[in-house]
Amino acid sequence: MPATDLLTIDRLNVYYAESHILRDVSLTVPEHKVACLMGRNGAGKTTLLKSVMGLLPARSGQVQFAGENITTRCPDERARRGMGYVPQGREIFPTLTVQENLVLGLLAAKQPKNGIPDEIFHLFPILKTMLKRRGGDLSGGQQQQLALARAMLSHPRLLLLDEPTEGIQPSIIDEIEDVITRIKEQKAVSILLVEQYLEFAWRLADFYYIMEKGSIVAHGTTEELSEEVAHRHLAI
């Protein structure tokens, strides 16, 4: 029996001014599964994540989340319905402390009174030692972990991860992979992952979608993803 779909994108078209970026994109993320979105630079992966989050308006098409049509909802309404977003470039608040960055994630979950739960420091032990530091003073890898922790604290049902391994040293990539694996094993969160690092995506994802020039050109379960398809669409 197929799992229910948490996120359903149906023939979505998105424009930057007059240039047509996303063309009839359809995609689904089932409950508690990981879908990976792959494609070369400029294929529209980040644009798609931004449209899912509501940062870019849809010209036509539909975005459904947990059975509700959210196509015209603002980002903050989507976040409060259970979307967590870790953008490319991480977007840590540079002059806020690590703790304040985390509390902002907590506020989205409507239970800030309990304080930052300890589980998050089991996943990201490095953050516990840096609570008073300013977000902008952290290294790229630390910021990535902070962004992931901040998104997790909002108790999302769907995590949108935009290239979590980009520009990060290998040891931290391993840690981040461990964390995502653990999130996946807890079976509470679905993930839509944008990733260029093929092996990383391969190990984590249940489903794949490949984008080219704003359209989905191939998709299926990760087990079926053949070397031939991967090579044709992803090789440089």
């Binding site: 903050d76 976040a79 977003y85 953008p87 540079p94 304040e100 509390v103 506020l107």
Partner: protein, 304 residues
Amino acid sequence: MTSTTFLLGQLFNGLSYCSILLLIALGLAITFGLMGVINMAHGELMMLGSYAAYVLQNYFAKQLAAQYFGWYFVLALPLAFVVSGLAGLLLERSLIRRLYGRPLETLLATWGVSLILQQLMRQIFGANNVDVRSPGWLMGRWHVAAGLELPHLRLFIIAFTSTCLFLMYALLFRTALGLRIRAVTQNRDMSACLGVPTRKVDAYTFALGSGLAGFAGCILSLMGSVGPNSGQNYIVDAFMVVVLGGVGKLAGAIAGSFVIGQTNVLFESFSTATMGKVMVFTLVILFLQWKPSGVFPSKVRSLD
């Protein structure tokens, strides 16, 4: 008069002028400094606060027995905050929210609003200035030593400004709303992605800055008469303080008002009030040539 008491008197005058400047600039430090809105109607929001005090004073004089008159000012402060805050909320909801990130349009639109507000006050209260009388408890002087007398009003202003400043810091750095305000001013999109209702936060922040303008107007009504053009007299000072201190930081407004206040009083002591002001202006211009982003530069929200 000894030179020590003279010096102390000068320092006190400087401090008192600083706190007036800071009170004028505090609201603008929020709306312009944090939110990046060049609000030319800020002076008129102060004027609304002054008229609020005037109206309440008249009500007390007419309706209540004389022994209660002194209390009117205690109520005038929150009334001024609410009146100006609501006016600011209306302004944000109707106009400014459509103009974020477009400083030139904001400047023109709020200038228009300032003209409308001036004319509105002229229609309601007439073109002539009106007077707000100090309550008895603010009229005395405190004799510290021979030649050194500290007026109660000025002591009150220093205390009031300090309280406002303390509350602003507490709000911004100790509450969830303050955290949201700081987050939105740094990165609006990411704040929204974390579930912060950015439009509501904008509205509250702007109303807060406007309410502070109301406080300033209420206090300033005790220091001179109130007229439809009152706001115009303060807007330059307010912007000067915020720009000199560095846009985007509360500490900048404190530094800006301190520097301008003390130098102004110093220059006035050996020349005339007008010359003092001219010299301060010149110094501020020269300083900004040297350090265009002020005493405390920050990169909070770009203004270009």
